[in-house]
């Protein structure tokens, strides 16, 4: 038996549920040296901005127990070069290109969606809502559900109707379910979660924060339980809304965990730093896990942890 790995995210069908996470696969070229990117469910690009961005100064990354703390600051070439160089390259390799966008304001997000809709081959737009909102003193859009909803609505309106729009949410907000609901109400076809979690490492030798600027975003297996809880919670509240789950996916079993919690697909992020062939390895492992358990269709797992479990209880001690 070869298990059926196809999954649907609303109208969008993927050959398998494994994607790359935004910002963790370079332009695609770097990753393609280690694995055939046409076999990945979808390649999500790093967040594209209107203008080129130099990002943050080095050091940008620090290792943490089972995680990494990073502050790259959306370094990228801007939408023009992206459309001219990176997108065509991805398509030429047979990749499904999902494009993450980050703007400095609602208008920038809308502009990006419009430009992407004019280009052929964009299969999904992921709206990175963790970009700082200059209108709100640099707090990110997701910190305010209304601001996030305005961004999502603008992107949904500007994007071609046949391109699904997913809202990418961070975990560290006051009311994640509320935020998710607002984004869906504003037109999001699905949700991607979670972005990195706010964190810091202090270098005991220099006595300074280990990444320039102090705060960074925590990712990797360390945050997987936080991500799974978010997916579980949002799926419980919005069972019809497709979710791309991410945060610490490293093995085929991790993919199953996210699907059981309610994700319809998953993205592999910082595990790629450790193993650039992780996506295809994870797919192989997933197939093996399904065969071992006699699961014929991977989509049978989606949300299954909700069917058997009681209601989620309190969090902290």
């Amino acid at each position: 038996m070869i298990p059926d790995l196809r999954v649907r995210l609303g109208e969008w069908e993927l050959a398998n549920p494994v994607m790359t996470a935004a910002g963790c696969a370079g332009s695609g070229r770097e990753l393609a040296r280690f694995c055939d990117i046409s076999r990945i469910g979808a390649v999500v690009t790093k967040s594209v901005t209107v203008e080129p961005r130099a990002g943050r100064p080095a050091p940008r990354i620090a290792e943490t127990p089972s995680g990494v703390l990073s502050a790259v600051g959306l370094q990228g070439p801007g939408i023009d070069v992206f459309l001219q160089r990176d997108l065509p390259w991805l398509l030429s390799r047979g990749a499904r290109a999902a494009v993450s966008v980050a703007g400095g304001g609602v208008d920038e997000y809308a502009l990006l969606a419009r430009r992407l809709s004019e280009a052929p081959g964009v299969t999904m737009i992921e709206v990175n809502l963790s970009s700082p909102d200059p209108a709100r003193g640099g707090r990110h859009f997701a910190a305010d559900a209304a601001a996030a909803a305005r961004v999502v609505a603008a992107v949904r309106e500007a994007a071609r109707a046949d391109i699904p729009v997913f809202a990418k949410l961070p975990a560290d907000v006051a009311d994640l379910v509320g935020l998710a609901g607002e984004c869906v109400a504003a037109g999001a076809d699905g949700l991607a979660m979670i972005n990195t979690v706010r964190g810091m490492v202090v270098d005991v030798d220099t006595r300074r924060p280990a990444v320039a600027g102090g705060m960074g975003g925590l990712s990797g297996p360390a945050i997987r339980p936080i991500a799974v809880a978010c997916v579980y919670q949002v799926h419980a509240a919005l069972p019809e809304v497709p979710i791309v789950g991410m945060g610490g996916v490293r093995t085929g079993a991790d993919v199953m965990e996210f699907l059981l919690a309610g994700a319809s697909a998953v993205a592999v992020g910082s595990a790629l730093f450790h193993d650039p062939s992780a996506c295809l390895r994870v797919l192989r492992e997933l197939e093996r896990e399904l065969v071992d358990r006699g699961v014929e269709r991977v989509d049978a797992l989606i949300g299954a942890a909700h069917h058997t479990a009681g209601a989620p209880g309190a969090a902290a001690e």
Partner: protein
């Protein structure tokens, strides 16, 4: 990005040795050995299958040999968790290794005089370079520095393969007390050096570059910036580098380098995003459509 496609492999450890203050590990890695060009490095996963250490450790390739289909040797000093784990490996253990990575040292077409300057473990990539230069008929002179004698890298080998080898140590325990740049001018003069190659800490590279520029001779430096993946996907290892078009970009040391022309590296701005770098805050005011098209 180098046009040589790196490979990822599970490589058996052949030997683990201790050399002065360094550990030397040789792994069987035919695919890496055959593709290798001097100046390139490998990225090693550490800590085993369920490791809490997610980022790769990168090491210059010190030597490749044809035995067992191709072996790769790297040398390292124990600094943190990952190198401590590596130092405990034994022969027959498997290491997940990716390589060869990065832009190699460009080699001169003609048999010119080359001075190779290295500091501490940063000297490792200079040895395969010296061999490659010798094979092209170049004259090779070494200038190697370190904190103490045991931290000066492969002094004997340097003496053997080079026309001359000059050493400096902070404590005077080997060669001249002081820094490599204290003796470099003399070596350039005596050896009539045409090219400088340098590896080591940023401050050293800056001074070596400045000296080469005073002499008006080209200098190739291999920079050391904190790396997490080694493969170009994490965007962590950036250094401000001036492109051929005069525009400064945040270049990734792992795929755009680690070897750069010395005068292109904005050493004084390392650890910052220079205000005039492509895409720096407020950059648009000074840039424009044309530049944007070339960014990234």
């Amino acid at each position: 990005m180098s046009d040589v496609r790196p490979v990822q492999m599970s490589s058996p450890v052949l030997t683990v040795r201790q050399v002065d203050a360094y550990h030397a590990i040789t792994v069987v890695a035919p695919g890496i050995a055959e593709r290798f060009r001097s100046g390139q490095f490998i990225a090693v996963a550490v800590g085993g299958e369920h490791s809490a250490m997610l980022t790769r450790r990168v090491f210059a390739i010190h030597e490749v040999k044809p035995d067992y289909g191709g072996t790769v040797e790297f040398l390292f000093a124990v600094r943190g968790r990952g190198t401590a784990w590596l130092a405990e490996r034994r022969s027959r253990d498997l290491l997940d290794v990716i390589g060869p990575l990065g832009r190699p040292f460009p080699l001169p077409r003609d048999p010119v005089n080359c001075v190779l300057v290295g500091g501490g473990s940063g000297s490792a990539p200079l040895f395969p370079l010296a061999h490659a230069l010798r094979r092209r008929g170049c004259r090779v002179d070494f200038v190697l520095g370190g904190a103490t004698a045991s931290r000066v890298f492969s002094a004997l080998t340097a003496r053997r393969i080079a026309e001359s080898a000059t050493f400096t140590t902070d404590d005077g325990s080997l060669g001249t007390r002081g820094r490599v740049t204290d003796v470099l001018a003399r070596v350039i003069d005596e050896a009539c050096s045409d090219v400088v190659y340098a590896c080591g800490p940023m401050p050293m590279l800056r001074e070596v570059t400045a000296m080469a520029m005073r002499y008006g001779i080209p200098v190739q430096v291999s920079v050391e910036e904190t790396m997490a993946c080694g493969t170009g996907i994490c965007m962590s290892c950036v250094v401000p580098v001036v492109g051929e078009d005069g525009i400064t970009r945040m270049a990734r040391a792992c795929v755009d380098g680690p070897v750069f022309r010395g005068e292109r590296v904005r050493f004084d701005d390392v650890g910052t995003v220079p205000f005039d770098a492509l895409g720096a805050p407020g950059w648009k005011a000074r840039g424009g459509e044309d530049r944007a098209r070339e960014a990234g």
